[in-house]
Subunit: 460 residues, 2 copies
Amino acid sequence: MVMDVKEVYQQLEEMMEKEVVLQGWIRNHRKQKEFGFIDFNDGTFFKNVQLVYDQSLSDFEEIQKLRVGASLEVRGKVIESPAKGQAFEIHVLDWKLLGDCPENYPIQPKRHTREFLREQAYLRPRTNLFGAVFRVRSVTAMAIHEYFQSHNYIYVHTPLITTADCEGSDQMFKVTTLDMDHLPKNEGHVDMSKDLFGKQAYITGTGQLHGEAFAMAYKKIYTFGPTFRTENSNTKTHANEFWMIEPEIAFCDLNGLMDIEEEMLKYVVRYVLEHCPEEMDFFDQFVEKGLKEKLNKLLDSSFVRISHHDVVDILKKADVKWEFEPDYGEDIAKEHERYITEYFNSPVFITDWPKDIKAWYMKVNADGKTVAAVDLEVPGAGELMGGSQREEDYDKLMKRMKEMDIDEDTVDWYCNLRRFGGCYHSGFGMGFDRLLMYITGIENIRDVIPFPRTPGNCDY
Amino acid sequence: MVMDVKEVYQQLEEMMEKEVVLQGWIRNHRKQKEFGFIDFNDGTFFKNVQLVYDQSLSDFEEIQKLRVGASLEVRGKVIESPAKGQAFEIHVLDWKLLGDCPENYPIQPKRHTREFLREQAYLRPRTNLFGAVFRVRSVTAMAIHEYFQSHNYIYVHTPLITTADCEGSDQMFKVTTLDMDHLPKNEGHVDMSKDLFGKQAYITGTGQLHGEAFAMAYKKIYTFGPTFRTENSNTKTHANEFWMIEPEIAFCDLNGLMDIEEEMLKYVVRYVLEHCPEEMDFFDQFVEKGLKEKLNKLLDSSFVRISHHDVVDILKKADVKWEFEPDYGEDIAKEHERYITEYFNSPVFITDWPKDIKAWYMKVNADGKTVAAVDLEVPGAGELMGGSQREEDYDKLMKRMKEMDIDEDTVDWYCNLRRFGGCYHSGFGMGFDRLLMYITGIENIRDVIPFPRTPGNCDY
């Protein structure tokens, strides 16, 4: 019976002195005259297994020729390792080469730059770093599902293709089945009635509107899926395709929303620390010094809640020469975010933002100037979640849409939710990739996405 | 403290004679002269809660005016119900209207046709039927994650936007940021170098190729995300956007793959039966008579494994007048699928298909005529999964691609996986929406997708 390397580590006590069969890849091979060591990994566990062989093998000369990258089946005996810090090793009894690998294999047991590995996106999960990153990505996704499912949320698959043009179609990719070289025209414009859906469709930038419809049926829902932006932006935190989680909760106000955001984030961080201790140690040591301390501090802290107005007060009083002068009616710049999380030395919920810089569906506060919006700023990563209480009053929503020039036609159903048993409700969005950057310490979003899409980059 | 209705049901013994606060919607309202009954539902549980009120309420006249669909906060005492088949009811102490609902609310407590409700996609999760369908959708998704995560699989987010034109770009939606009315041209063709990615990009029909790359690092991976097809097809089983699960396993042959498919399907079916007993009873009673028996039979059966050749033998010998004559070199028609699952009275794996009707990446068998492919046919639903062992030999793969006229340029990285420690490996795809049709008994794919996209239909 072939075992996963992870199972051997988990059942080590029972496995001692027993035979196992493993299948995996050679990460490193150190040959001596009379014996040799192979660092062997099957991808199910962060740590390698050390294979030890000697001249008792009839095919000793052949095994010595094995190259890094090759795939191998090996039968061996689990034994105590004389090497320090190594729980066991496997004494090879026999082996079989499954897939060879040439000398010019790009992933050699040495330090590669992240830029180089980005060019080898289809091979980089075989390295220690990216192997750890994408396992943590998988485990973090599971943590999110477990949190919401165990709290009676319904997971909703909101549509990717949409005609709801609510956030400005210039930020959305258009999709078409038409022959781009021979588009049907009608009075100078492309005749989209000839397309598969009979009109111009897009791939979506948010599942929120559809999520709200389901929250009005299930009370608590979440989405977790890909979203798209056409931004021609080449920063470390922007990608054109990214995954997002968008919970929406009926009968929930802004304070209730913050409670959920805080509880969820702590749940996920704790889950990853518990389920990926080897990977988190590795990140702590080689990616971001102090990462684990940062995360444990988050678990122990009670997040600060402060209004945008009071944040600006603090910023104005600060003895800092700002690049962007803080202002009560303005957005908060990166330098401000950094200052305020350092000021409180804690994650900070900033609430009640100037309405003119926020979205049309947010509930306007009694002051008429601010909206019941909240951004969560975390030390070292800036904004991690953005949420709001939604405008539940039909007339107020319509007025706001007119003011902000939102086309009502494609979202009339959304507005109708206010007429049919609507209630106060709130929701937030969390960029999954940015959460991963925060959890792993990785600084570039391209390095937490398996095959990242950024302007000019859509290989693979 | 506001509770979820689900929590009240779960903790009923402790809650008896206690006060609770609930928030939810009115599903039905029966008024008598001196008292009244409200069927109340907050979406967290399939069953309603019966609210009972009487003239002891100071606002008795107001509560009597409440309409179906309105949202309500209610404080009341949990008491034993005199009504049959009802574990408890709630005696209303006070209440607050949160959101009113007009008389012309489309979702009234009566039988609506599914066609009508499809037109009300944003409201239909408030009905018993769709409330159950989309909760089962959520729970089934969780079952899939739990199965794979507990078996050491890595969840991979393969890219949606892709330039890998491997299955024929005419079946993929093109995406663009260009102004369709004013496309830049170059020698008569659209100049795609001006687009955001510098070339024509698509939204994908499969994550398999990218999944294989990750299987060569992690041994066992799965994808679970949206996929797209441009088919102009208006059947009950086709949608242009649907969710798919695509596991890929290194060091796994076709027999190993069938073991996994069978174990996974049974795990998921058992999980849903256990986690959604109320919903499954409802489907069994009102959607597909015998549904639960069908599913329990699946759990108890050992799936048949038979080659395509032997299936055609059986079909040829059958005393049936076929619409499509079965043939050794041909695909199997719906009528054949039905016959063969009835013949064995069990799910059937059909293996070793004629290579000319299957995909280019499948491993050609020693006979040179068939490929190591497998389709799982289940009674009453036809094909539920399709998988294969992949061609792991670089030269054979290249030869096959030439034969089948596959453009190597966009998938050279995929082919390279065979050169760098490639190994025998297999994977399958399962349409999530079709799985849901099978589990719920719902016959039209439009009724298991929250906001379905089909030709001419992209509302919401």
